[in-house]
């Protein structure tokens, strides 16, 4: 398995760190030798929708191999407050590099 996976970010729950159109490179081997840490940006499989990936920040470990993941932009985030802690097996990896896209202006013409 190749250690690096590419993802394009959609939606705004991780704004202003990640914005729609940004790319992230994910290290799939990051958690081979250590546990996900609080504050890590992770890409994981949506626990409610097969085949859908999400990107959030680890807020805490529950101790039983599950992690609470939250969006930075809480008002706009569907995260562990909605679907509960996610099992570690759903975590694809840790965000290793982040490439920002150009910002679209808010309320562009017309």
């Amino acid at each position: 398995m190749f250690p690096i996976a590419r993802f394009r970010v959609e939606q705004r729950s991780m704004s202003p760190v990640l914005n729609p159109g940004d790319y992230v490179l994910v290290n799939r081997w990051a958690y081979r030798s250590r546990e996900p840490a609080v504050g890590d940006l992770v890409v994981f499989r949506d626990p409610e929708r097969p085949g859908v990936f999400m990107c959030k920040r680890v807020a805490r470990a529950t101790g039983s191999g599950s992690y609470v993941v939250l969006g930075d932009n809480e008002a706009l985030s569907r995260d562990s407050r909605w679907f509960g802690p996610i099992p570690r097996s759903l975590i694809v990896g840790k965000v290793w590099r982040h490439a920002r896209g150009r910002r679209a202006p808010i309320g562009s013409l017309p």
Binding site: A5, R6, F7, R8, V9, E10, Q11, R12, S13, M14, S15, L18, D22, Y23, V24, L25, V43, D46, V52, F53, M54, C55, K56, G71, N73, L76, S77, R78, D79, W82, R97, H98, A99, R100, G101, G107, P110
Partner: protein, 173 residues
């Protein structure tokens, strides 16, 4: 990082990256066409106010010109904002609320929303009373359909705002 982004975007064209959602579409079920109707009223009102605004005379002082420009700029800014609110609200109803079965029941829905968005662009770009009235008429049509899908009867009445135009309201309770 711009270079990395360009590189990844190019790579994306060859082999598309998977999407990681930083999701915000909580299906909250709270929708109402009233916001779009209100926004249309606001645009009508701004067109009225711009029309009523007295243009500075040839011998107007710099202060008078400044006051005129300030008022005009504020009316235009509000017209811009509320045209955009109108478009956003209609898009949310269209994309998030209405379901395929609603479109089967009301086959005119796609065309109606599309034309309403076009009216809003016109209402935004121009000082155009007809376009802003069209915005309201189309928002009323969307409201009629919206409330029908909810099984809520509607009635049309003159709005209590200075714009006074006919508006579709739900008959609740």
């Amino acid at each position: 990082m711009a270079l990395l982004h360009s590189l990844l975007r190019t790579l994306d064209r060859v082999s598309p990256a998977k999407v990681a959602y930083a999701h915000c579409d909580i299906p909250c079920g709270i929708y109402d066409p009233h916001h779009a109707q209100m926004a249309a009223h606001t645009v009508i009102r701004m067109v009225d106010l711009i029309g009523q605004l007295e243009k500075p005379a040839a011998n107007a002082t710099p202060e008078q010109r400044q006051e005129y420009t300030n008022k005009l700029a504020r009316y235009i800014a509000t017209k811009e904002q509320h045209s955009e609110i109108y478009k956003t609200e209609l898009r949310v109803l269209w994309a998030d609320y209405f379901k395929p079965e609603h479109v089967q029941q009301f086959p005119q829905l796609h065309d109606l929303v599309w034309k309403a968005l076009k009216s809003a662009s016109k209402g935004r770009q121009e000082i155009n009373l007809a376009a802003s009235e069209e915005m309201l008429r189309q928002a009323n049509e969307v409201a009629t359909i919206f409330w029908k899908t909810k099984g809520v009867p509607t009635y049309a009445a003159k709005s209590p705002y200075p714009t006074g135009r006919e508006t579709v309201y739900p008959k609740i309770g």
